[in-house]
């Protein structure tokens, strides 16, 4: 089983019909993510990033092609099987999606309840992960009174508490200031060391440039055969501007 990709998409198409018109959200997308990889998925709005993540999470079906996660054929799974699979995958949302009726501790505990873990083990893990994201003192606080950055840290704690082999994050820094955003991505990058595959969808190219790693760029629903070379994406000042400044 060594070397088996944790995520694999084979010739995946996803079409939608809107107003009688067929739209290709994804066209013949193939990719492989290995264990412990830190991968950015970039592309402009509407390029198909969210659609691709939905397929990986088993929230959508491909129109054509195959999707494998942790060696399992997601495209053939029933809804109940997909939910069981998602208990092994950490998910971080842009808008954190915390349950407002539950406090910080209970929000982080939720995926462990779905996994059926015992109370003592749940408590140990939740407190430990809250310590890691520096939210332990807020364990009993309601989530509505937290700042955006704190909410995102709770969201990350909720994703990490299950020790996922894959962590999928859709625009996790979208609602954060630049300092918090970098601190968050730095933390996610450290997960590489634990063998967790981190798959982040973002359109923040500055962040991608700063943290490096593997970069996949979706263009019009398609993935170029080679990964993106960030050097080619460096913005340069136009020559006429530089000439004007020197004159």
């Amino acid at each position: 089983m060594a070397g088996m990709p944790v995520v694999e998409l084979v010739d995946v198409d996803r079409e939608f019909t809107r107003g009688g018109e067929r739209l290709h959200a994804l066209a013949r997308v193939s990719l492989k993510l290995q264990s412990g990889e830190f991968v950015f998925l970039t592309g402009p709005s509407g390029s198909g990033k969210s659609t691709l993540l939905r397929l990986v999470l088993g929230l959508d079906n491909p129109s054509k092609g195959e999707v494998y996660v942790l060696g399992k054929a997601v495209h053939k799974m029933t809804e109940a099987e997909r939910r069981r699979l998602r208990r092994e995958v950490g998910v971080v949302f842009q808008d954190h999606r915390l349950i407002s009726s539950l406090n910080v501790f209970e929000n982080v505990e939720l995926p462990l309840l779905f996994q059926g873990l015992g109370k003592a083990e749940r408590e140990r893990r939740v407190l430990e992960i809250l310590e890691t994201v520096q939210m332990r003192e807020h364990a009993q606080s309601g989530v509505t009174c937290l700042s955006a950055g704190e909410k995102q840290r709770v969201g990350i704690a909720r994703a990490l508490v299950i020790c996922p082999r894959i962590l999928v994050a859709d625009e996790p820094t979208g609602n954060l200031d630049p300092v918090s955003a970098r601190s968050l991505v730095r933390m996610l990058r450290e997960l590489k060391g634990f063998g967790t595959t981190v798959f982040i969808a973002t359109h923040d190219m500055g962040l991608v440039r700063d943290f490096g790693g593997r970069v996949l760029e979706l263009v019009g629903g398609a993935l170029p055969p080679n990964d993106l070379n960030m050097a080619s994406k460096a913005y340069k000042v136009p020559r006429f501007f530089a000439a004007g400044q020197n004159a």
């Binding site: 939910r83 009726s101 209970e106």
Partner: protein, 299 residues
């Protein structure tokens, strides 16, 4: 945590929750009222059947110890008639009793008693037409406690009356009403739970993404339904008991037979009413299964 989520569901739409509880209570009250009336009519039927039976006249038979002399029997008679629940009494001599046995069961059977002396009996006539079961027991025990009384026969040989058929029909109507109320309660609860579900949809969808099973999501909804049904049933019982204690004596007393005491719903029927409310609510909660089992509608 499940209880906390159920509570959140309930209070997320307080007016809808309250409306549902009241609506469930009203539906169950309609059924409960019907049951109460049927139960009381059934009691009238049984009493009337006893009264109209040829074999069991509206009264009691007291068997007196043969050792009592005439004076002592007269004293016993007077003592019994001092109770205003009895209008009259008649002494039946052993010979007359034997003759009555011959008439009723034929000579062969009556010969069995020939060697034995039959006791003197007193035929008592009630002063009122109807006696409740509990009241009748009190009377029987009082009489059995009098010195010289061997036993008392209540003569409960009820014969079917023409009314029985019509009451059976009433029971059929009650069954139809029961099914209707069950459906109404289930739909009401289901509707409210769907409303609560819609209000909390983003959170429920998030749970689906995190891997919550459909049954895990359903559990708070079941608890919510159970609470709604139980509270509605309790309110319905309160209304019914209040109705019997307050409304019946003021409004319907003149319509009831003389001396008839209108009873509240029996304990068994009350429990059945609560069970119906809770059961229908649980069924209503289960109607949300398609919502909780369908794939998450979010990333």
């Amino acid at each position: 945590m499940i209880l906390k989520l159920a509570w959140k569901h309930l209070v997320s739409r307080p007016f809808s929750s309250l409306f549902t509880i009241v609506a469930v209570a009203v539906s169950l009250s309609v059924l409960g009222t019907f049951w109460t009336v049927v139960e009381n009519l059934e009691r009238i039927r049984v009493t009337r059947a006893q009264v109209s039976s040829v074999d069991a006249p509206p009264g009691l038979t007291v068997f007196v110890d043969s050792k009592l002399n005439k004076g002592e029997i007269d004293a016993l008679r007077e003592k019994i008639l001092s109770d205003n629940r009895f209008a009259s009494s008649e002494i039946v001599a052993p010979e007359a009793a034997l003759k009555a046995l011959e008439l009723q069961f034929g000579e062969t059977l009556s010969k069995v008693f020939e060697g034995n002396s039959l006791p003197v009996t007193l035929k008592l006539q009630f002063s009122k037409t109807f006696l409740r079961g509990e009241e009748l027991n009190v009377v029987l025990n009082t009489l059995r406690g009098y010195p010289g009384v061997l036993d008392v026969d209540a003569g409960l040989g009820a014969v079917p009356s023409g009314r029985e058929t019509s009451y059976s029909r009433l029971f059929s109507w009650a069954s139809a009403l029961l099914l209707t109320v069950f459906g109404v309660v289930a739909l009401l609860v289901s509707h409210l739970i769907r409303l609560a579900f819609e209000a909390l949809r983003p959170e429920v969808e998030t749970m689906k993404v995190l891997g919550a099973s459909a049954f895990w999501i359903l559990r708070p909804l079941l608890i919510e339904g159970l609470a709604l049904g139980f509270l509605g049933a309790l309110l319905a019982l309160g209304l019914l008991f209040l109705g019997v204690d307050v409304v019946v004596p003021r409004v319907a007393a003149s319509l009831l037979p003389k001396d008839f005491i209108f009873d509240s719903l029996s304990l068994l029927s009350s429990a059945q009413l609560v069970g119906l409310g809770v059961g229908a609510s649980l069924v209503g909660s289960f109607l949300t299964w398609p919502l909780v089992s369908k794939p998450a509608q979010t990333t």
